[in-house]
């Protein structure tokens, strides 16, 4: 009974042993390569963007950055294992099919997002990948179907004595 229950705990432990200690330095905001306002022209019938929050999870004593807003997930295991969540970046990437958007992450990697499909019911299928400049792709592909406003999270990249937690939302 007990060991059987510990099974998933081992998985949890495995996935959480990611923190690589580094010097704690406040990270500069990453550069959104696509920050320019959209070009004028006929409005698309459906326009989606990806809102990306880049959080830095550490075991500091600052708690959850109020700029993050209400995120009950951060108070749940495994996220609750980190005591501090700081908002490093907040970006909105306009999504258009066939036009990938990129965002520089604080750890030097580059997030790329694409709109794969527009789905009925205020939802969209989006893809994301994380690339290491000059190196191999870190996360070659992630495809997610998401309703507008519903978050999904990519966490675990080591960064400055903690990890990065990327919170995505498809927004209109």
């Amino acid at each position: 009974m007990r060991l059987e229950r510990i099974g998933p705990l081992a998985v949890l432990v495995a996935m959480l042993g990611l923190a690589v200690p580094r010097a704690a330095v406040a990270g500069p905001a990453g550069k959104d390569h696509n920050a320019a306002p959209p070009a004028p022209g006929p409005a698309a019938p459906l326009s989606y963007s990806a809102e990306v929050l880049v959080l830095h999870a550490t075991n500091g004593d600052k708690g959850i950055d109020p700029r993050i807003g209400d995120m009950p997930e951060l108070k749940k295991i495994p996220f609750s294992s980190y005591k501090t969540y700081e908002l490093l970046q907040k970006a909105k990437l306009p999504l258009k099919q066939g036009e990938p958007r990129t965002l520089d992450l604080p750890n030097g990697r580059v997030l790329q997002m694409k709109l794969v499909d527009v789905l009925p019911g205020d939802a969209a299928k989006v893809s994301a990948s994380i690339n290491q400049p000059g190196g191999k792709t870190f996360l070659p592909l992630l495809e997610v179907k998401a309703k507008v406003g519903q978050p999904f999270i990519v966490a675990g990249q080591a960064y400055k004595s903690g990890i990065l937690v990327l919170v995505f939302r498809v927004v209109k």
């Binding site: 009974m1 007990r2 060991l3 059987e4 229950r5 510990i6 099974g7 998933p8 705990l9 081992a10 998985v11 949890l12 432990v13 495995a14 996935m15 959480l16 042993g17 990611l18 923190a19 690589v20 200690p21 075991n59 995120m71 009950p72 997930e73 108070k75 749940k76 295991i77 495994p78 996220f79 609750s80 294992s81 980190y82 299928k125 994380i130 191999k136 792709t137 870190f138 996360l139 070659p140 592909l141 992630l142 495809e143 997610v144 179907k145 998401a146 309703k147 406003g149 519903q150 978050p151 999904f152 999270i153 990519v154 966490a155 675990g156 990249q157 080591a158 990890i163």
Partner: protein
């Protein structure tokens, strides 16, 4: 033990219970060895998480390797038949979105994935039919410190009808496909009130660690 009971224990551990409910849980704990054992496991999980989060990634890498070493190359049912234990994680690991990978919404099953050089797991493609196999199991066994006794527990196994039903369920967000490249990762969900939030947890490459730890 049903999921409601597990949820209640988790809420108790998280400090989310109202006083009356907490008292009720404490009474339950007092009379139920099973509940006490489960609570102890949850507490162990928290301790391990905290401990490991302070350590180098080498340890996690070792743990991950040991976990993955126990994941075979066959399908879920093959693995199940092989005497493995299906994972029955707590709520923070188990409440998967119904669609997507159809992992835990059907049956509280954790999904632990590892790819080697590019195979992609797609929700619409069961591993057995994937043209890009070999890939991974949607259900993993985890090494334990003692030999496992008895047959695999069927309670947590997702049946095809369940998975299909789950796939049709309405969810806020679901993972449709993921490729971890040469690394490791885990997919799970975290409860966020009425919705479940899918989480992809990446095992970052440790820059300097080469050590291996013994499995838990």
């Amino acid at each position: 033990m049903n999921r409601d009971a597990e949820d209640r224990l988790m809420r108790y551990l998280d400090g989310d219970c109202e006083p009356a409910e907490a008292a009720e849980v404490e009474r339950w704990l007092a009379r139920s060895p099973e509940a006490r054992a489960l609570l102890a496991d949850f507490e162990t999980a928290g301790e391990l998480v905290r401990e490991v989060s302070h350590q180098g990634a080498a340890r996690a890498d070792g743990i991950a390797d040991s976990v993955m070493a126990h994941i075979g190359s066959g399908g879920t049912h093959d693995h199940h038949a092989g005497g493995g234990r299906l994972l029955r994680p707590g709520r923070w690991l188990a409440r998967a979105p119904a669609a997507g990978l159809a992992l835990a919404a059907a049956a509280s099953v954790a999904l632990f994935l590892r790819s080697h050089g590019g195979p992609v797991l797609r929700a619409s493609e069961p591993p057995a039919s994937s043209s890009r196999a070999p890939l991974v199991l949607p259900v993993a066994t985890v090494p334990t410190a003692e030999p496992q006794a008895g047959p695999a527990e069927p309670q947590g196994a997702p049946s095809e009808p369940q998975a299909a039903a789950a796939d049709e369920g309405e969810v806020g967000a679901s993972i449709e496909a993921v490729d971890f490249g040469g690394g490791n990762g885990t997919i799970f969900v975290v409860s966020s009130g009425p919705e479940e939030t899918p989480v992809v947890w990446l095992m970052d490459e440790p820059p300097t660690s080469k050590g291996r730890m013994k499995p838990l």
